[in-house]
């Protein structure tokens, strides 16, 4: 027993000496990526594949920390207030970054609290309808909705969520009155459409594909102005711009952000690491394997884009939000 204690003491002392010898450069210890969502979501999935690649590039382990709760604000606030030393960053999406903090009181300034590190991809939501609806295109839908106010059931995945925003953009742009049905996620929303309870919903390609191919869904339009030219199934879907509603342009961006106070050199190093990752075939192969595309935007570019979007969403929130 005594020997054991001596040994433990020796081990501890040896360990104590170690850090004194090296004053390493950034990063010299693991970096934590906070994900403000629960386990098992698509962000988690992305992270599990991205972090090993990043760890290799940066030379330090990149560790995921899941901090769900508070509609994404718990994790976001945590990172906003964290030590701006470059060892804590957040992997989130633009709804949590640019919309939710503008809908209520948060403990940080949504615009200035973060600097972008990179955008991994951007997905455009599609407006899908169940197969039995009496309209085949967006103009027909709007016509029907105007003649039957409050009758069309549109399901969304949660107020201020990624399915909700395009829904609101659409409703406001088209000036129609619908019956908004809340769901607790993409799965239940999908189920409701398949069961015939909901008529329409905004969602994403990967989720829709098998049902579209089985004939259960009709695609009405794609948000934004870039048609899905390379997609085997959805290359014919009209964009919202094409049908006359260019304001329905929400995309879900997956972004890595760092607290605003991070020293410029460390931020640059992070950004460069991501740029390097974007050049890595392993990265693209991974995203492809989980059925996602890449739509990379560098941190500096995204900062500019983000500011613009913040303002746009602020207007939408003012229009739609409760007074």
């Amino acid at each position: 027993m005594r020997t054991l204690r001596l040994l433990s003491l020796a081990a501890l002392s040896a360990a104590l000496v170690a850090p004194l010898s090296a004053r390493a450069e950034y990063p010299d210890r693991p970096i934590t990526v906070v994900i403000p969502l629960g386990a098992g979501g698509s962000h988690d999935l992305h992270a599990r594949g991205i972090t090993p690649i990043l760890s290799e590039i940066l030379g330090q382990p990149v560790v995921v920390s899941l901090v769900p709760g508070g509609a994404g604000m718990k994790g976001t606030t945590q990172v906003a207030k964290a030590n701006a030393d470059g060892y804590t960053i957040i992997f989130t999406h633009n709804a949590f970054d640019q919309i939710t903090p503008q809908t209520r009181k948060v403990e940080f300034d949504p615009l200035t609290a973060f600097k972008s590190v990179a955008r991994i991809n951007a997905s455009e939501p599609l407006l899908a309808a169940r197969s039995g609806v009496p309209y085949k295109s967006v103009p027909e839908l709007i016509d029907y909705a105007k003649k039957n106010p409050g009758k069309v059931n549109i399901g969304h995945t949660g107020v201020w969520g990624v399915g909700f925003i395009p829904t609101m953009q659409f409703i406001k742009a088209a000036g129609i009155k619908v019956n908004l049905i809340p769901h607790t996620g993409g799965g239940p929303a999908m189920r409701a459409v398949l069961a015939g309870e909901d008529d329409l919903t905004f969602g994403f390609v990967t989720q829709y594909r098998p049902h579209y191919k089985a004939g259960k869904l009709v695609m009405l339009a794609l948000a934004g102005d870039k048609p899905l030219k390379d997609d085997p199934d959805f290359n014919g879907v009209k964009t919202m711009t094409q049908v006359g509603y260019p304001n329905v342009d929400f995309t879900m961006d997956r972004i890595f952000m760092a607290p605003a106070g991070v020293p410029a050199d460390r931020l640059a190093k992070l950004r460069k690491a991501f740029d390097d990752m974007n050049k890595s075939p392993k990265f693209h192969a991974f995203l492809k394997s989980i059925g996602e595309k890449t739509d990379y935007m560098s941190g500096a570019d995204y900062d500019v884009y983000r500011t613009k979007r913040m303002k746009q969403f602020a207007d939408l929130i003012k229009e739609v939000g409760s007074k």
Binding site: G38, R48, A71, V106, W160, G187, A195, K213
Partner: protein, 501 residues
């Protein structure tokens, strides 16, 4: 179909599948046994490993973690009254009492056999009836879920005998806590008192750890007893395995719970926790000696454990047939499927039928493997509980803290402590804690489903329910009938004499 099955069986004739399943089961069991560590977390962390394996190895590996986890949660639930996973909350009713009587190992084994049988049976049912189940799932919408939840609550309430008003108070507190946070229809935040941490609602894990772990720790310190096992228990008899005649008595319960769990598995949003309570309540109601429930009754272990595992089979159905994950765990499985190039959804049986069936059969076989593995792994746990409390209590507290910390931030610790101390006080005053958890979990679904139903009905509820949604009406009427029957039955007794229940 037979040809596909034949192909599936061929796919299964490799020993490494079973190696990986076993690895998953063991990992899952240990993770499940740590309060606060969720199986989801384990699956998420091990997902990359699963990616590197081929689908026939990687997916059963994850399924193994999942199944191991559900059982693993029962271990601390039985031994120290702390549920390792939400599904084992109902097991804390009988478990610790049995442990104190020196029957801890028996309880662990009963839980094992009940879990495995329930799980395997429900998987087989799913395999055979997958088409039917898929159709049923589409029929179960918000009004049905609402009705089924109400009906389940009535069932659970009808057997919670001794709690009476205090149980109801506990339930109301739970429901009240459940309403903290963002409301689903219009997105307004309720009762958050300006705390950001509460906007998403009170997080479940710190709450459960607080409510169960802290009072247990405090009570363990309270008593002067040196270990968790009662001093008057013959040390030679404690640690005895389960005997056949003891097990045999619970076979009807296990069968009943399997049906219950399978049914609940088809209803989105209800889940293992509630299924376990319904299983327990049903076992108590059907028992010839309900008064032994609550004092250490093995049947009260079999009931919840079979039910909570039986939920698993049908939960896979929306995932496989529609590509819709029903909960977080199936969401991870979906990710795994996608990463392996499989696209769950309407076509998967046409395109990759053999593989899918093989995976489902592997899930059934996992149970067989699990019995053997867990039986061996149980013994150290059962023995460990005999250690003096001075060793165990700090370890339990340390792990409980880890469990809470692993989910995020320091504010969770605060929630855990507050919940824990409140729960301790309530427990001392004889408030039953189980209704609180049930109330907490079901608060949001009840309100959400009712709101959704109103939206679909466009305000005209009566017409909607009774004309358009017959299944929902059935359950509502059944619930009302049950309440009426109970009241009538109780008033029938001769006044002044206690009711034999």
């Amino acid at each position: 179909m037979l040809a596909t099955l034949g192909q599936s069986i061929e796919l299964l004739l490799r020993w490494d599948i079973y190696l990986y399943i076993s690895a998953g089961l063991v990992v899952g069991m240990f993770v499940g046994a740590m309060p606060g560590l969720t199986t989801i977390l384990a699956m998420a962390v091990l997902l990359p490993i699963s990616f590197k394996l081929e689908p026939m190895l990687g997916i059963p590996f994850l399924i193994g973690i999942y199944k191991g986890g559900i059982y693993g949660g029962s271990i601390p639930a039985i031994l120290v009254g702390i549920p390792g996973t939400g599904a084992s909350i109902a097991t804390t009713i009988e478990g610790p009492k049995l442990t104190r009587q020196g029957k801890g190992r028996k309880a662990l084994e009963m839980a094992l056999y009940a879990s495995v049988i329930g799980d395997a049976a429900s998987d087989i049912l799913t395999l055979l009836l997958i088409g039917l189940i898929a159709k049923i799932i589409l029929l179960i919408g918000p009004p049905e879920v609402f009705a089924i939840i109400i009906f389940s609550l009535i069932l659970i309430a009808s057997v919670s005998g001794e709690s009476g008003i205090k149980g109801a108070i506990s339930a109301c507190i739970g429901v009240g806590l459940g309403f903290v946070g963002k409301e689903s229809v219009d997105g307004e935040a309720r009762m958050t008192f300006g705390l950001d941490a509460l906007v998403g609602g009170i997080p479940l894990i710190p709450l459960v750890i607080g409510i169960f772990a802290l009072p247990e720790v405090l009570e363990a310190v309270e008593s002067r007893a040196r270990s968790f096992i009662g001093e008057t228990v013959d040390p030679r008899k404690s640690g005895e395995p389960l005997r056949w005649h003891e097990f045999k008595k619970s076979i009807p319960t296990i069968i009943r719970s399997t049906w219950i769990g399978t049914g609940i598995g088809m209803v989105p949003g209800v889940g293992q926790v509630v299924a376990a309570f319904i299983g327990y309540s049903a076992a108590k109601r059907a028992s010839k000696h309900p008064e032994t429930f609550g004092k250490g009754e093995l049947d009260g272990i079999a009931g919840p454990e079979a039910a909570n595992n039986a939920v698993n089979g049908p939960t896979l159905v929306p995932l496989l047939t529609l590509g819709i994950p029903g909960d977080n765990i199936t969401a991870i499985l979906l990710g795994a499927f996608v990463a392996h190039g499989m696209r769950p959804g309407p076509q998967i049986f046409n395109e990759q039928g053999a593989l899918v069936y093989a995976i489902l059969i592997a899930a059934v076989l996992a149970n067989v493997l699990f019995v053997a593995l867990a039986y061996v792994l149980l013994k150290p746990f059962a023995k460990a509980i005999q250690l003096p409390k001075a060793y165990l209590v700090p370890a339990i507290l340390a792990l409980a803290f880890v469990g809470t910390l692993s989910t995020g931030s320091a504010s969770d610790l605060g929630i855990m402590m507050v919940a824990g101390m409140g729960a301790y006080v309530l427990k001392k005053l004889r408030y039953d804690l189980a209704p609180m958890i049930i109330g907490f979990i079901l608060a949001e679904p009840i309100e959400l489903r009712l709101s959704q139903s109103i939206l679909y009905a466009r305000g005209d509820l009566a017409n909607f329910f009774f004309v358009q949604r017959p299944i929902a009406s059935f359950f509502l009427l059944a619930g009302i009938a049950w309440v009426v029957a109970m009241i009538y039955y109780r008033y029938r007794r001769v006044p002044g004499q206690p009711v034999i229940r």
